[in-house]
Amino acid sequence: MAERLLTVRELNVCYGKVEALYGASLTVDRGTIVSVIGPNGAGKSTLLNALMGVLPSRGSVEFCGNDMGNVSIESRVAQGLCLVPETRELFSQMSVEDNLELGAFTRYRRGDKGIRKSLDTVFTLFPRLEQRRSQFAGSLSGGERQMLALGRALMSQPTLLMLDEPSLGLAPLIVKEILHTISDLRSTGVSILLIEQNARAALQISDYGYVLENGEIALEGPSSELADNPRVIESYLGIGGGEEKG
C-alpha cells in the first residue's frame, strides 16, 4: 500500500455559530489524486481552507507524519502543502512572471537554485502564460488566470496540491485540457486533492473519491466504484449526461 500523505480525522469547522463541516475524515496517499465532490454549499471549500490553516478548525490534520495543529499557513507551505483557493488570490497588480516567481518564494528563501528551471517548466505547460509574462495578472482572461493560479502553485513544488474547482468558469474544451494537465501532474510525483463541480471528469482522473453533503462525508470509495454508484449517478452525474458543468 502507498504511503499516507495526509490523514484528516474528525475535522470540524464553524463560521461563528454556523457549523459548516462536521466530523470529516479523509486520507490522501502519496502519488494519488483524490477528488471531493458535492453540491454547492456542502463545505468543500471550507474543507480545503481548513486544511491549509486559512480557517481555524477542530480535529486532527496530519501531513507527512507531522501534526498540523498549531502550524501557520506559511509553515504548511514550507512543508509542501499548497492550496489554489476558489478565489485564486493572484497578485493582480503584478506581472504574470512576478506572480510565478512569488509562487516559489519559500524555495527562494531556502536557497533553491532551480527556480528558473521551474519557470520554464510552467511556461512549457502553459505557453499562453509565457506570451503574457509581462502583462498584469489582473488583465488576464478567466482561463489564463486559472492557468496562472495553477502555475503559481506548481512553482512551490508542492507535495500535496489542493485545487478548489480548477475548471471554474472555463469553456468545456479548456476544462478537459486543464484536467488532463492535472492528471499528468501525478506522474511528476505531485499528489492532488481535487474539488470539482464537474463530477464525471473528476472521478475519471482521480483514484479515490469522497462525496461531501451538508458538511458531512456521505460516501467514499475508489473513483471507478463511485462513478457506478446509483446515488452518485443520480445526484451528480446526471442520467446519461454529457460533459456539461454542474
Binding site: 483557493p85 509562487g103 518564494f105 527562494y108 512551490s156
Partner: protein, 345 residues
C-alpha cells in the same frame, strides 16, 4: 518678488520636498504591508537628529534606553507567545535574536560615546540606535493587533506617537538642536548659493529612491513585500510571513525617518516634537498618492514643499495652515476622479 527670491524659495521647497517624499514612501509601504497609518513616523526624524546631537556632546542618548526597554518588552511578549503555543524549544533562539542586537548596540554606544569620534561614525552609530526602534515598536505595539481594523491600528499609532513624543521630552529636554552638516561646502550657480548639505539631501534622496525602485521591482524580497501590500491572503498562500514583512516595513520607516532627521538637522532646528509636523507633511503627500501610488505621492510631496515654501514668503504665520488646507481640494478631486473599491477586510 524677484527672480532671485523665487530661486531661493524653490531651492528650499525642493530640499523639503525630498524629505517629505521619502517619508511619504515609508508611510505608503507601512500602510500597504501592515494597514497601519503610522502617524508616529515623524518621531524618528527628531530622534535621529537629537540622538546625533547627544552623541556630539558626549552624552549617552536616551534613545539607547528606549531601545533596551523595547527589546525587553518584546522578549517578554515572545516568551509568552512561545510558551502558550507550546514551542518551548524555540525560546533560547528567539530571545537571542531579540535581545542580542540591542545589547550589542548599547554596549557599542557606551564605549564610543566618550571617544568623540568623527562625524561619519557618529552618523552610523545614530542609525544603529534609531533604526531598530521601528521593528521593535512593530513587535510590541502592532503585531499583536495584526487582525484588528484600520481604525484600531490608527488609534494604536496615535498612542505610539504620544508615547514617543513624551519620551523625547524626557530624554532630550525641550532644547532644540542643530546638528553639524555633512559637508561645509558652498556652491554658487548663477547667483544662487547652494549649500553642500542641500546637495547631500538631493543626492541621498535620489540614491535612496533608486535603491528602493530596484529593490521593489527586481528582487524577490521586494516583490514579496509588494505582494503583501496588494493581497495579504495570496501572500500567505505562497508562504510570505506577514509579520516578517511588517518588521521589514517598519525597519524601512525608521531608517527613512532617521536619515531624514540627519539630513535636515543641519538645515532646520529640531525639537523633541518637531518630527510630528514633518511626518504629517509627508503624510499629506502620501494621501495625495491615495496611500498607494509612490510617484503620485512624490508629486504630492513636491506640492507640499512648494506651497509651504512660497506661503512662508507671503503668509509666513499661516504656512502650515495653507499646507494642510490644501489637502481638502486634493481629496475632493481625487474622490471624484478615482474609482472606489470596497475595502477588503
Amino acid at each position: 518678488m524677484d527672480f532671485q527670491t523665487i530661486l531661493i524659495l524653490a531651492q528650499d521647497a525642493i530640499t523639503n520636498s525630498a524629505i517629505y517624499a521619502l517619508l511619504a514612501l515609508a508611510l505608503i509601504l507601512v500602510f500597504g504591508v501592515t494597514r497601519v497609518i503610522f502617524v508616529a513616523q515623524g518621531e524618528f526624524v527628531s530622534y535621529g537628529a537629537l540622538t546625533l546631537a547627544s552623541l556630539q556632546t558626549g552624552v549617552m542618548p536616551g534613545t539607547v534606553w528606549l531601545l533596551l526597554i523595547l527589546a525587553f518588552i518584546a522578549a517578554c511578549m515572545e516568551t509568552a507567545r512561545l510558551l502558550v503555543s507550546g514551542a518551548r524549544h524555540k525560546l533560547p533562539g528567539a530571545l537571542a535574536t531579540i535581545l542580542a542586537p540591542p545589547l550589542a548596540i548599547a554596549a557599542l554606544v557606551k564605549i564610543c560615546t566618550p571617544l568623540h569620534l568623527h562625524l561619519g561614525w557618529q552618523l552610523i552609530l545614530t542609525m544603529l540606535i534609531v533604526i531598530p526602534l521601528g521593528p521593535l515598536i512593530y513587535r510590541v505595539a502592532f503585531r499583536p493587533l495584526a487582525d484588528a481594523t484600520v481604525l484600531v491600528l490608527l488609534i494604536a499609532a496615535v498612542a505610539v506617537h504620544f508615547v514617543l513624543v513624551g519620551l523625547g521630552l524626557l530624554f532630550f529636554g525641550a532644547e532644540g538642536v542643530r546638528t553639524p552638516p555633512f559637508s561645509d561646502a558652498q556652491f554658487t550657480f548663477a547667483n544662487l548659493n547652494v549649500s553642500g548639505q542641500s546637495l547631500c539631501v538631493y543626492a541621498t534622496t535620489i540614491v535612496f529612491v533608486a535603491i528602493m525602485a530596484w529593490f521593489f521591482n527586481k528582487t524577490l524580497y521586494g516583490k514579496a513585500l509588494r505582494a503583501v501590500a496588494f493581497n495579504r491572503n495570496g501572500a500567505r498562500l505562497v508562504g510570505i510571513t506577514p509579520h516578517l514583512a511588517g518588521t521589514f516595513s517598519f525597519a524601512l520607516a525608521s531608517a527613512i525617518g532617521c536619515l531624514s532627521g540627519l539630513l535636515i538637522g543641519p538645515i532646520t532646528t529640531l525639537y523633541y516634537d518637531s518630527g510630528f509636523l514633518i511626518g504629517l507633511k509627508g503624510f499629506v503627500g502620501a494621501i495625495v498618492g491615495g496611500m498607494a501610488s509612490y510617484p503620485i505621492a512624490a508629486a504630492g510631496a513636491l506640492m507640499v514643499g512648494f506651497s509651504e515654501s512660497f506661503s512662508s514668503f507671503w503668509l509666513s504665520g499661516y504656512k502650515d495652515v495653507v499646507v494642510f488646507t490644501m489637502i481638502i481640494p486634493v481629496l475632493l478631486w481625487r474622490s471624484l476622479t478615482t474609482a472606489h473599491y470596497e475595502e477588503e477586510e
